[in-house]
Each structure stands twice: as C-alpha cells, then as structure tokens.
C-alpha cells in the first residue's frame, strides 16, 4: 500500500469539498474492493475520504412506492431489512448472497454500484428495476448510470448518496457463480414494474446490460417458458478460464428462466 492522507468528513457537502479539491482523492465506503486494490498497489490515491461518518448516507426506508437505500447500507442490512424483504424480496435475497459473511458485514451498496464490477450483483437489480441513482449533484436513471466495465456516469467529485428502487409487481434473480471468486459468472434479474418488464444481465458481459428480446417475450407471457428458447448471442460476452462466451450465453438463458421462476 502506498501512503495516503485520510479524511473522515461528517457530511456529504464536506466529502464532496474534499474530493473536488483533490483530483487524486478517492472515497471509501466498505473498502472491500478499494482496500485490496490499495494493498496490491494497483491504486495510488493521494487521500482517502472515508464515508462511514456521514449520517445522510445511511439507512433504508420506504417512501411511498419506492424503497430508498442509502449508499452506506451494508449488504447484510439490506438482506435483513424488513422493508426490503416485504417490497422487493429478490433484492434482499440478492444482498444475502453476496460474498461471505465478512463481505456482507462491510461491503455497501453504494460502493458496489459506484464500482460497477461487471461480475457484481446489485447493478443487475438497479438496472432491471429501473432504479434512480441519487448523487450529490443529480438524479441519474439506471439506464444512463452504467456505462460498461467499471465505468459509471459518476464524476470524480460526485458521491453516490442513495438508490431509489420502485417497488415492482414481481421480481426475481438467479445467478451462476464463478467457481473460484464466487462473483457472478452469469446472472439475470427480471422485474415487472409499472413501466413494463425489464431484464438485466450481469456477469456475462463487460458490463450489466438489458436483454430486450427477453423483455418482449416476458411482456407477452410472464413465464419461464417464454425465455427458454431465447438465445443470447455470444458475441461480445466475456470469455476466460472459467467459461467461454458460448457457455455464458447459454447461462444467460438458463438464469433468466430461473429468475422468472424465482419471481413467481
């Protein structure tokens, strides 16, 4: 790890000020992604802005037909939240399936969504549910937020503050884990919301993406069979020692089927 300065502001405004003043500063939430990168010397921030002292970023609440989750909510809190369990059980279940107990006790939804690891879980839920990402500057629709591998609409001095999830009529999630890392090798989140049906695929490609053919099929007929014969093209999907692009393409269909079954 390289040397860095450490700040622990108590408000979003102060945190943003620290980030704006120093282009090499980095926010840190759970640290379960950033710290390993620092330890491997893959990252050399001049300062680290710890978000754990900011009350505005915490908490999970229901606001009308939305569930609002603060950026600093930990995976474990989301998994165990009565509000989330009642309104979006697939999201609670997803949170409870991330990593292991240590990861769930430290890792946050804000850190995960801001990081946008193609193999992460939450981005699929955010995209499929058509959630809104609330930042220190603006409100960003999920469709605009995720911009490919480890890339989002966030600017360097912009903090992710909360995520607003519309409560869906139905939602389900299924994933195949990478055997080694246990991150997602291919996953599908399916949701029926007021605007229609949305299907988001994670793990399989360089970033989370919507599967429009499946959305159309499920709009016409919400059942596992509706997606069973929709083939995901392998072009552009990830290929590595754990799975070829063809295998991942196949898994997309299998996981979509299972996600619909999971949604009921």
């Amino acid at each position: 790890m390289y040397d860095f300065a450490y700040h622990k502001p108590t408000s979003v405004a102060d945190a943003v000020k620290l980030l704006a003043a120093d282009p090499d500063a980095r926010p840190i939430s759970g640290g379960h992604t950033l710290l390993p990168a620092l330890k491997h010397r893959l990252n050399k921030p001049s300062s680290v802005v710890d978000l754990s002292g900011i009350a505005e970023l915490k908490g999970i609440r229901r606001e009308g037909d939305r569930i609002v989750i603060g950026a600093m909510a930990k995976h474990k809190e989301i998994a165990e939240s009565a509000e989330v369990q009642a309104a979006i059980p697939a999201l609670a279940k997803m949170a409870g399936s991330i990593g292991d107990i240590q990861v769930r006790n430290r890792g946050t939804i804000g850190g995960s969504v801001a990081n946008n690891d193609p193999a992460a879980d939450y981005p699929a839920a955010v995209l499929a549910l058509g959630a809104t990402v609330v930042t220190s500057k603006r409100r960003i629709a999920a469709d605009e937020f995720f911009q490919g591998m480890f890339t989002t609409a966030l600017q360097p001095d912009e903090l992710l503050v909360a995520i607003e999830f519309p409560v869906p009529q139905r939602a389900g999630y299924a994933k195949m884990r990478n055997p080694a890392s246990r991150y997602v090798m291919a996953g599908a989140f399916v949701a029926k919301i007021a605007d229609g049906v949305r299907v988001a695929i994670n793990g399989a490609g360089p970033g989370v993406f919507r599967q429009k053919a499946m959305e159309a099929a499920l709009s016409a007929n919400w059942s596992p069979d509706a997606v069973a014969n929709i083939k995901q093209p392998a072009d552009g999907l990830n290929s590595d020692i754990h799975g070829s692009a063809e295998y991942r393409a196949h898994l997309v269909t299998v996981m979509a089927k299972r996600a619909v079954a999971d949604a009921g």
Binding site: H40, R41, M176, A180, S181, I241, G243, S244, H250
Partner: protein, 794 residues
Amino acid sequence: MNVVAPFEGIGVSVKRKEDLRFLSGRGQYTDDIVRPGQTYAYILRSPHAHARINRIDTAAAQASPGVVAVYTGADLAAIGGLPCGWQIHNKDGSPMAEPKHPVLAEGKVRHVGDPVAVVIADSRERAKDAAETILVDYEVLPAAATMQAALAPGAPAIHDGIAGNLCYDWHIGDKAVNDAAFAAAAKVVTFETTNNRLVPNAMEPRAAIGDYDTTTGEHTLFTTSQNPHVIRLLMGAFVLQIPESKLRVVAPDVGGGFGSKIYHYAEEAIVTWAAARLGRPVKWTADRSESFMSDAHGRDHVTKASLALDANGKILALRVHTQANMGAYLSTFAPCVPTYLYATLLAGVYTTPTIYCEVKAVFTNTVPVDAYRGAGRPEATFLLERLMDVAAKETGIDRVELRRRNFIPADAFPYQTPVALQYDSGDYQSTLDEALATADWAGFEARRAEAARRGKLRGIGVSTYLEACGIAPSAVVGSLGARAGLYEVGTIRVHPTGSVTVLTGAHSHGQGHETTFAQLVSDRLGVPVAQVDVVHGDTAKIPFGMGTYGSRSLAVGGSAMFKAMDKIIAKGKKIAAHLMEASVDDVEFDRGTFRVAGTDKTKSLGEIALTAYVPHNYPIEEIEPGLDETAFYDPKNFTYPGGCHIAEVEIDPDTGRVAVVQFTAVDDVGRVINPMIVEGQVQGGVAQGIGQALLEHAVYDTNGQLLSGSMMDYTMPRADDLPNVGVATHTTLCTHNPLGVKGCGEVGAIGSPPAVINAVVDALRDYGVSHVEMPATPDRIWGIINAGRKMAAE
C-alpha cells in the same frame, strides 16, 4: 484413593494436544517471530516467463528511505545454486540434465516469479517502495509455457546446452516382454489424459528469517519447512558452505505444507546469507500472490497408456508414456516424483504381469513442479482407475467385476510387482466389499432414477487404489538416485520423575504428531499423554531427522521412537533387576511397570527413572546413569496403504455444475493409533482430491503468464463444495515395521480423484463420453453435454 487413569494409548481418539494453542491463536509461526533489529526483505520477481537480463540498475533503490541493502544475482554469484536431491538416469545410462538453479537470477529469468533482486529495508513497505525503483533491462525471449511447446522443434532453449528442453528420458520394465504380451492380447484399450497442474496453497504462506550471531559466527534460519535438517544439509553443504555446527534451522509451527514446504527455496538462502553480511536479522514473508508464483506446483503430466487384456478381462500388460513437467528448474525432489513415486505404482492393486513405462521430464517456463500431497501416486492411480473404467466399458465387463478379476488376492502377499515394489500386505476385496456396502452401490439405480425426476444426472464411481509411502529404505532409494538417506530419528528422554520428552526428526505442520506420538509413548511406557511432550522442528534440539512427507512420520518416525523405547526398556530392566535383586532375564515390562516374573515385586518407570538420575544404588560398572535413548530407524520397505473410494455425483445439465453428493472411503492404513486424526487426514485428503477432480487448475497462457494466479481465479475447495465424507478403516498390518502402521496422510488425495471422475463419466453415460479431464468444471461439463445434444440432434 486409587484413580485409574484413562487409557490413552493406541486406538484411542485422544483430543489433539496442539489444538489449544492453535485454536486460541497462540501458535508461533515464522512470521510471528520478531528478532531484535530485524529488517525486512522484499524479493523483486520476474514479470516475464523468459527473458535475458541485460542490466539491473539498483542505484535509486539503494538510496531509497529505510533501505539497508539491495542485492542481485551478481552479488550472490559466488554461492552455490539450489541443489537437487535426486538424480535420475536416462535410458542410455547417462545422468539427467541438471541445470544450475541460481538463488537470484543470473543473466536470465525462466519463469514468472523467478527472483531477480532482493531489497532489505527497515520495513516491508519501504523495501517494496524501493524495489519499484529498480530498473531491469529485460530482453524478452519467446517462452515455452507447456510441455508441448517446450518439446516442439525449434522451441526456445530454456537452459543453455540442454537439447530439446529435456531433463531426462527414463524408462522402467522390459519392453520386449511387454510388446510380446500386447501382441498376444485379445483386447487392447487405450487412454490419454492430462493430470492437471495444481498450486498447493498451504494456509500459511512461506516465510524465512535469517539471523546471525556475530560473536559466535552461528547462523540461525527460522523457516516454514517440513524438514529443517534437510534444509540445513542442503543449504549448509551446497549453497552457503556453512558447517552444521554453525547453522541452526528452526521450523516452528507451520501452517500446512502438502509437500510444498519440503524443498529448499531461494529465500531461505537469501535471508541467511544477507543476515550474516549485514549483521542484522532479515525476515521475508510471502504474500499470497507470491506463493502462487514461487511455491513449487504439483502434478502436470500428459500421458498415453494402453492396457492389454485377455478374453476374460484379465490384464496381460500395461504400457505407459508420460511427459512430466519439471518447470523451469529442478526443485529438490522433482525428478523422483514422475519416476520412482509414479511408474513403480502402476501395478496398483492388480496382478498385471508386465508393465513398461517411459517418462520424459521436460523443462518449461513455469514455476518448478515437485511433490504435492500424494506425489506421483495420485497420477498413477488416476491413470489406472480411469483405465479400468474405460476397459470395463470397452469389454462390457462390469467395472467392479473387472477389478475383482484382477485384484492381487489377500493370500498372495508378499507380492512382487513387475515394477520393483514388493507389497507386504493388503486385502483389496475386503475394502471394496465394505465400501460397496457402505455406499449402497446396489441401490444406486434407484437414486439415479430419483435424481432424473429432479432433472439431475446422477453417477457413481469407484476407485480401488494402492499407494507406497513411509519412505524409505536408504539403500534402495540410494540405488535409485536419492542423494540422502530416508531413515528417521527418535529420542525418548525419560526425566527423573518419569515424565517424557520425545525428540523427533519428523515435523508436524497439521498432522497432530504431538498427540499421536505421545500416544505411542503412553501406550508402551504407561505415561499419561499430558506428561509426554513431543519436540520437533529445531536442529539445535533434535539429533537429526529427515522430516515429514510421503506419509512417513508414523511409519518411519514412530518406528524410530519405538526402537528408542526398546532401548529405554532394556536399560530400565537392568536397573530394575539391580534394585529388585533379580536376574535381568526375569524382569518383565508392561506399560510402565517392571516386574520380576511370577512375583509381585514391581518397580514403576518413575522409580527406575529416578534411580537412573540419582544413581546411589546403581549398577554403575555395568551401565551409565540417565534414561535417554536415541534410535535411527531405517525402514525395510515402503508401506502400502490401499483401499476403496466411492463417489456419487449429481450434475445439473443446465449449468454443467457437478456436486459430489456422497463419498465413501474405506482405507487400509495399517494399525490406527488415533482414529479421529486418521479420519481428519482422510477427509482433508479427500477434500484436496475433490479439489483436483472438480475445481483446481493452475493455468498458464502461451506467454507463460499464470492466469490462475490468485484466489479469484484458482478454485480452492470450500466447505460447501464437499459432501460428508464417510471414513472407515479396514486394517491389515504392515509386516515390516514394529508398529504395523502404513500411513494415512495422502490416501485421501490419491484414491479420490478417479472415483469422482468415474462418477462424472457415469453420470454422463447418455452423452457418448468416455473421459472427462480434470478439473471437471461447469464450463467443461456443459461443453460435453452441449456437444452430446448437438450430436443427438444431427
């Protein structure tokens, strides 16, 4: 009040004495040790698989904050290379190619992770900071990352003067006899397989501390080793030229080895050498990424085999051609693994009359490969037990029946195989019968049908295996090329009040020796386990030793202790005879009590010990005071554990994921001292075997970069990958050691991989599959299923 102490001897599951220390975080591992004035070494490693080093500029690093010294290969050129402990001879009698293995790279790097320079600073982070400023001018050369690439015409030469990157071309068996048997066969079955390359991944990464006493000239090396005396021998005699009397090697608590901590590594020599040069202790601890690219890897064979059978399924002959990857340099025992620990095992449990095996050992631009849990025997077992299933399929003979027809019968021991070994005991029909019954083999079809209703493909697989461990008779291994003896040393020190300290040359790094060995003493001398302390891992305390590997600790180390106890008892009898005014011949000894035969005159071991140390009334003309005996025990033969493993798997045809749902192991490990520890050893071994079969794979790309270089990409078995493993033992005694023990450390890893793959192939019976390579990952299985479906559709 007369309290009867509980019996804690042979056959009792005494709780492990060492666990209080380990479970409460009070183990003392090498990295826990802090020496006054300690400095920290960081090793700069090659990012290239193969490159010439034109120049190394360390000026900036030398001037970095906190830096004490920076060394490169040029500074170490005067010291020796890392020695190889085993010499194999080619078919034509010439010795194997044995290139220098420099401690720090000299002019060239040959694998990613090859040490290039060392920075020593007042903290690890500062050493690392400085290392980043070292400029190495590499001229990148084409790499040969696989054996196929290394053996191809025009392949890059990894070592100057070694033609075709060939380390040796060795064989065993009579080719003419073998050819004749094949010519007469009713049926010939062929099979090809790659035994996957593995990274041992002990929980504790390697570490080493060099310390030097400037007043006495004594060097001390603390190191994560399975065999400190061997390290002292190799490093002292061959690398640094330090006499044994001035070199102490300590291997304190060690967190797992699995073979990877047998070998003498560059870092041990670097810290020992640098500490003397600097007059300050130097510590090095690997991080996990470094372990992946610097610990010796395991397995990595490519094999073609043929089996000749008569019309009744009786095996007539076996022929095997194997290529074995050595990596870039010869690790300490690498050459013996694919030869004397592999080809000599190819008879397995069968009466194969003739075996011919050729082995080509190949240098590649990868991390050196050496023994890893099982070492050679898992490769032989996988080959044989897959071959038996392939033969069963091709002959139409039931796979269990085919095995039975070829078993060495229980009354045929001692049994001489055509590949040098002579088995002393075994009962393969019985271990098979017991495993079939426990696993409910007969009821499998119902379970398959039930799984099919759930959409799952269920399969069952069996492996009947044998291995050779308890290495080994010194004269025999010497004649086969070992550059060391393989006896073991044990000291039994009975203290004046009757408590006992055991000094053993074996080393415990998870095996529970502190308990098992104490039980041996308790069983024989009648001393409670709590009063028997086992000391190991320090050349300053232990007379000598060859260490722990090849499941040898109990069979060889335990036998040494037994022999030392013989001496204690013999001497005790003389003292007792003197005290009880009887003839020595009339004194009997049983569990701590000396008795004049046929009388009620007795003396306890404690009384005898006290007399031995306070010899007021003592046969001083006849014997010396004290009760402290050492024995060097050289085994008469290998030991031959064997048994039967049965795996049952379920495959999800949609994802290709294989789940092992049931596993039965019935092993003959000889006499069982502590059943709980044996069960733990078998379970751990099976976990690693399932890991090899389904999960683990060290993969290099064509440029020699390790793609599975971290836990993100190297799949270690986890608790939820494993079934409950049913472990049972069925004992036949070893006939040539005094304890009747065989060894249990590796059987789990040896017997299980073919059982799992046989089950996987069985599950895929409807997809036209005759073999599935390891690891049977979801991707690989789905590929097979998908191809099968396509074929069916066409």
